[in-house]
Symmetry: C2
Subunit: 443 residues, 2 copies
């Protein structure tokens, strides 16, 4: 009741004050560019892997920004970083917003980072406007949304939502054969055991009242339709598979074709089968990708003995996604038998889709409208920490257009004006969800 009342008050208060939230898109881009330079590859390419030196530098960079804007910093055992702006209602759960700053190899400077840097700027804009939150507002830097190091996406949000077991996490090793816990302990996070670490990371009941994430679309729809803001109603159901093929290898000259069982060719067939099964679903919403394809020994004069494929399959329709997953696994078996190679297949994750909460959808839509921005209700096909946050709190997402829908590549780009729009919508949405008050003097 009180929260509903607060919401109504805020709705009114903000409606007449939308213009008082001032965001400079170029300034946000300037901060994002400084962050982009903390990278294992040269600008414009960004590579920032969990708990590497550049990831640790990015964490300090973000904590400094949080301090500049008077937030209290808390870091949990997995390295999720919270910057808290206290509200007048000390007993209330927070309005939580954030995203990730890790980047896959040779990625761009907006994916994830916009939802962290943009959130800090949204808080700054509310502070400049004299807004006083009722519910506390927290900005969150998620640990390892990208699966690069341990082959597990959204480690931080899975753990916060209690959706990650110690067995599952301990089964993941990085390329040096080390566990998450070992690496976390080395950089000053972690705990005595993986289960202690996960228990300490899990969010408490009532700790978060709303979660909202600002992100670039990573798809072409907003730009194509000339719209300003995407109001996300659901997040597509992602699945990840790993398939390995093992043949006997041999010398590329000496071993005759009839005597071969080439693991690389089995892998090539499976990669093409993934594409075929996805297209056969008949829906443009089904996507499938063989993003990792490694063969060994990998010498030009050696018949491939091993092939390892990591396959990503998503759909806004869970059952349809599952049918494609089953078809790909069946193809792996058929190819292995026909080519006389041994094989293993493993479902790394197969998560259900998530729906946004109507309170947040309407708050985002109303905020955009108050700013005179055009909107589209849409599904996020990309994978976000929001998918797991939806399990512990009402969730919503705000999308802005990005050039050609490009993401995970160095030329990923969003216009400063679109960034300003997204940050402004996030600021007003958080004000609505927080409740709280605008300066009386301006009434």
């Amino acid at each position: 009741m009180t929260s509903l009342l607060a919401l109504c008050v805020a709705l009114f208060a903000v409606a007449v004050r939308a213009q008082t939230v001032q965001v400079d898109g170029n300034k946000v881009v300037e901060v994002l560019t400084r962050l982009a330079n903390l990278s294992d590859h040269e600008n414009p390419a960004v590579t920032r892997i969990l708990f590497t030196p550049n990831d640790m530098l990015a964490r300090n960079f973000v904590k400094d920004l949080m301090r500049e804007h008077h937030m209290t910093i808390r870091e949990d055992a997995m390295g999720n970083i919270f910057g808290r702006w206290e509200g007048s209602d000390a007993s209330a759960g927070s309005v939580l917003t954030g995203s990730h700053c890790d980047a896959i190899p040779l990625a761009g400077m907006y994916d994830g980072t916009l939802g962290v840097i943009g959130a800090i700027e949204a808080v700054a804009a509310l502070q400049r406007a004299g807004f006083k939150p009722s519910r506390p507002i927290e900005v969150l830097f998620f640990t390892s949304e990208e699966p690069t190091r341990f082959g597990l996406s959204c480690s931080g949000s899975r753990a916060m939502a209690g959706a990650l077991t110690a067995e599952a996490l301990e089964s993941k090793l990085d390329s040096q054969g080390r566990h998450f816990l070992q690496v976390a302990n080395e950089v000053g996070y972690g705990a005595a055991s993986t289960s202690d670490m996960l228990a300490a990371t899990r969010l408490k009941e009532g700790q978060v009242d709303y979660f909202v994430e600002l992100h670039i679309e990573q798809g072409p729809l907003l730009e194509r339709e000339g719209l300003d803001i995407g109001v996300v109603t659901a997040i597509a159901a992602p699945a990840a598979l790993e398939v390995t093929f093992h043949g006997d290898g041999g010398h590329a000259g000496g071993q005759l074709m009839p005597d071969r069982n080439d693991a690389g060719l089995a892998g090539a067939e499976l990669a093409l089968a993934v594409e075929r099964h996805v297209l056969a679903s008949g829906s443009v919403d089904t996507v499938g990708t063989t993003g990792t394809f490694e063969i060994a020994p990998g010498a030009i004069n050696s018949v491939p003995r091993d092939a390892r494929l990591a396959i990503d399959i998503r759909d806004i329709d869970g059952p349809r996604r599952d049918r494609v997953v089953a078809a790909v696994l069946a193809s792996a078996k058929e190819i292995a038998e026909r080519r006389k190679v041994r094989y293993t297949s493993r479902v790394i994750n197969q998560d259900p889709p998530a729906s946004s909460h109507e309170d947040i959808v309407s708050a985002v839509a109303a905020s955009a409208e108050a700013l005179g921005l055009s909107t589209k209700r849409m599904v996020s096909r990309a994978y976000h920490d929001s998918l797991f946050m939806a399990r512990v709190a009402p969730m919503g997402m705000i999308f802005i257009p990005c050039k050609n829908g490009w993401s995970h590549r160095p030329d990923e780009f969003s216009k400063p004006q679109d960034i300003a729009n997204g940050v402004s919508v996030l600021a007003l949405t958080m004000a609505r969800l927080s409740g709280g008050s605008w300066p009386r003097t301006e009434l």
Copy 2:
């Protein structure tokens, strides 16, 4: 004339003395095993890359063995190592024998090494038997028969034969972007320039009268037919291609299938096209392999932007091999156009086949017969330094069986008895080619 006379003398002398060459196969295996431990991977896997610490240790290991057997050591500017057993005819060209000790990642312990360690043991056996060579006998450790580091096979023998230009060698970079010359200079070889290095490495006219190489078959035929010795009459024509595809990449979730140009899928199609074109040649002697298949960025949630394939195509019939090469290049073009990816293709090498010299073929056959060993005249489908040595001297090769024809893998294996047979045949063949004399006392 004199050389023909010497050959006849030797043929007679050796015929009655075959039994006096004693070779212990187990001892050769013991030496090969010590060498196998100089590896970047754990025994039984052998990985030994040009001019790495383990390659340098292997060079010292071989030079020590040569000294033990009273050979004079010479190393050229490319790092080819010669161990010379002086003959009575100082003016004559040498009988040269040898092979390589470098090993592709995760290879075995016999490929190449048998032709170096076995040659030293053959010299030792002749010395034990009291044989006195007329032509000097030289054992050769070739630099970089494997293409692992610079993507160029047989660097040492190409240079010795004058079949390598400075431009070609300078166009090759290792994975750290460095040139052969830089790396060679760092380990104490090399010269002021690449062209100086190549000029200094080239063999002089009349320096070598015969070249013979002992090697495991790397194919299944001798074992399958239960034969002891392969008398190589020709070496198949090898070709190597590099094809790269470049798409636009994108996010595995956000980028819809119709908007993709996935470089990895283009590569997968080409790898399968290589197999298809090879099988279409209709001859079991045609082989083709995509041994290197690298995609970038290589993250599970990223659409492959780049794919690089290294393709090896061989045949005992040059023109038939060239038709397959042309078909593969045409497929690369067709796939790139259909999938809307950019591409580059490059012929790394496309060498003609080489024939063995009849003097050596008959010397090998007669030596095997004198030892009561069964033989098969056969073509080498694998690539050897002999291919290039044939351009500067009469060439021949001796094969021994290897288990299942397996090579370039850790379980590569040849029986100690087969190794003893091969080393004995090599010893008697060199005696025949050298001329020279057996102890009178035994006549």
